[in-house]
């Protein structure tokens, strides 16, 4: 499969952005979910994606680690074109193996945790480092224990996911993604499946991560978190970026009516 890339001479000069999304298009059948979405995420910053249900936030996030293929445009992470190999004006889709290699550098956290239920918390974390990155077992275990400690679950290494609360599972899922030493973390509504009293612990871990300089793209409706942590807020609707900027600008002085309507509905 090959797609035609938009001619854009400036892509080679964009070095300060860790993630470059340029005019990405995506349809499911006749339904166009992403229409020319462009977005840049500087290294070490946090971008919060906001928008009503069905606006294409999850789809955009999933395109970034190629869980979805794109129909046009390009996504560049750390200087590498995601999912495609460029030759001239055509881009050829990579083999599953090459794509898997690219995904190692991009961690993802899901709304429904998706921990492996047949493995303990510790086994969940060490599986990919040992099996994929080839880390020695002892080293992977030490690192996994540090990560569990960091998300406040040092005593839960031997617990199976079914023995953990939702908030604990999500923190294990974050530790699991971090174990591959990603340069970018994607969060798709990480707290929306949680009971309200468990949301705080997960957000704390994410705040901590942001403070340490991790580049993050977060889909969330937690306005408080976005205000406190985000460097950039992007409001999407109907598959396009309606408005983006510093959180104080987007939240306190939205320029578009659609943004205002949405913010009123979530407040």
């Amino acid at each position: 499969m090959s797609i035609t890339l938009p001619v854009d001479p400036s892509t080679t000069t964009s070095h300060r952005s860790l993630v470059e999304i340029r005019r990405v298009r995506k349809s499911f059948g006749a339904h166009q979910v992403l229409r020319d979405v462009s977005l840049a995420v500087p290294a070490g910053t946090v971008t919060v994606l906001l928008g009503p249900s069905g606006s294409g936030k999850s789809t955009l996030l999933r395109c970034i680690n190629h869980l979805e293929t794109i129909d046009g445009g390009r996504i560049i992470v750390d200087g590498e074109l995601i999912g495609y190999r460029q030759s001239g004006h055509n881009a050829h889709e990579m083999t599953p193996r090459q794509i898997a290699r690219q995904r190692r550098g991009i961690g993802m956290v899901f709304q429904r945790f998706n921990l492996f239920p047949h493995m303990t918390a510790l086994e969940n974390i060490i599986e990919a480092p040992i099996g994929i990155a080839g880390l020695p077992r002892a080293q992977a275990r030490t690192r996994a224990k540090q990560l569990l400690d960091r998300v406040g679950l040092a005593d839960f290494a031997a617990h199976y996911p079914a023995q953990l609360s939702g908030g604990q599972q999500q923190r294990v899922a974050i530790a699991r993604a971090l174990a591959m030493d990603p340069k970018l973390m994607l969060f798709d509504e990480p707290t929306s499946a949680l009971d309200p009293e468990l949301v705080g612990d997960v957000l704390d871990v994410m705040r901590e991560l942001a403070k340490e300089g991790m580049t993050m793209i977060v889909v969330t409706h937690e306005i408080g978190f976005a205000r406190g942590v985000a460097d950039q807020v992007v409001f999407m609707d109907g598959g396009v970026v309606v408005e983006s900027g510093r959180p104080e600008h987007v939240f306190d002085d939205p320029q578009r009516q659609r943004t205002r309507n949405f913010l009123e509905s979530v407040r």
Partner: protein
């Protein structure tokens, strides 16, 4: 001291007015029913054991007869080979069925349709007659005269091989549906989580999807193995010398049909009983993480029972005395 004993000593001796001792409902009909069934069973057993037409000495004599033991061995061998090969084949067929390639999934569908839709007995006889259909089997380039190697069919496909082929191909059709159901039972989010960690499709299948599918696959596969063991007796129609054929061969000489059928049945019972042991442990292994605590193995249960006997107190049944607060 077990937890239960502790509870009893805490609550039993210092019972206050607030404690209520629950006494289970008496069920006299259970006792009457049980007595009736026991009586009937005893009567049946008596009629069999005192039946002058059954030669019990012959049963004892043939139970460990050389030919019977060889039959047992062959039955086990056929069961083992056809279960292993058919399971591998089943995974392939299931993967084809689930594939997005329409040719592969249609071929897989057709395979299951054909082999599930005809009686196993008919398939066995057909494989036995294969030599009549194709006298020679050859390896060459299709639709040309180029032949690298050929062999007389009856020479290659002995009754044993024909039987194996029939059982294996038939079983693969059934097992592939079990494997497919198992794969479909795994949440799609599991694959995505695995992919997002950089796992390849094959690695994901092996380490993430298959172990979870196994939980759904193993109980019915245990059943299939037991069915397979018994279905080997159908190979008697093409004269494969498994245990049932051996038993009929012997009884055709000494006319002790019932005795030899009892001998064969005893062996079948023993073999199917033994087969349920590995199933239990496999279910336990792949059940990890599904419930909050794993059930104890029979061995652990026995050890626990002995341990409490040594302390002199048998653990109280849970419903005998419950403190209600």
């Amino acid at each position: 001291m077990t937890a239960l004993e502790q509870t009893r000593s805490e609550f039993g001796t210092e019972a206050t007015d607030d404690d209520v001792v629950a006494i289970p409902l008496r069920r006299p009909w259970r006792w009457i029913g049980a007595a009736l069934v026991l009586l009937l069973a005893a009567a049946f057993l008596y009629s069999v054991l005192t039946n002058p037409n059954i030669d019990f000495a012959a049963i004892g004599q043939f139970l460990f007869d050389q030919r019977i033991l060889e039959g047992v061995g062959l039955t086990l061998l056929i069961t083992l080979i056809s279960m292993v090969v058919s399971t591998v084949l089943a995974v392939v067929v299931a993967a084809m069925r689930l594939s997005s390639n329409p040719v592969l999934s249609t071929v897989a569908w057709f395979y299951v349709w054909a082999f599930r839709g005809t009686p196993l007995l008919v398939q066995i006889v057909l494989w036995g007659y294969l030599g009549r259909l194709y006298e020679k089997l050859s390896l060459g380039i299709p639709f040309t005269d180029v032949v690298f190697w050929h062999i007389d069919t009856n020479q290659l496909i002995s009754a044993f091989v024909a039987g194996l082929l029939a059982l294996t191909l038939n079983q693969a059709a059934y097992s592939s549906e079990i494997v497919r159901a198992g794969m479909l039972s795994v949440d799609e989010g599991q694959r995505e989580a695995a992919y997002s960690l950089g796992m390849s499709p094959l690695y994901t299948f092996r380490r993430v999807l298959l172990p979870q599918a196994m939980r759904v696959i193993i109980p019915p596969m245990g059943n299939e193995t037991i069915s397979m063991l018994k279905n080997t007796s159908l190979l008697s129609v093409i004269a494969v010398l498994e245990i049932y054929t051996q038993a009929t061969v012997i009884s055709s000489q000494n006319l002790k049909q019932v005795e030899l059928l009892i001998v064969a049945s005893l062996w079948y019972l023993l073999m199917t009983s033994v087969l349920s042991i590995p199933q239990y442990y496999l279910e336990r292994r792949y059940g990890r993480g599904t419930s909050r605590a794993l059930p104890p193995t029979p061995l652990q249960r026995m050890r626990r029972a002995f341990a409490s006997r040594r302390h002199g107190v048998a653990p109280a049944p849970e419903t005998k005395a419950v403190s209600v607060i």
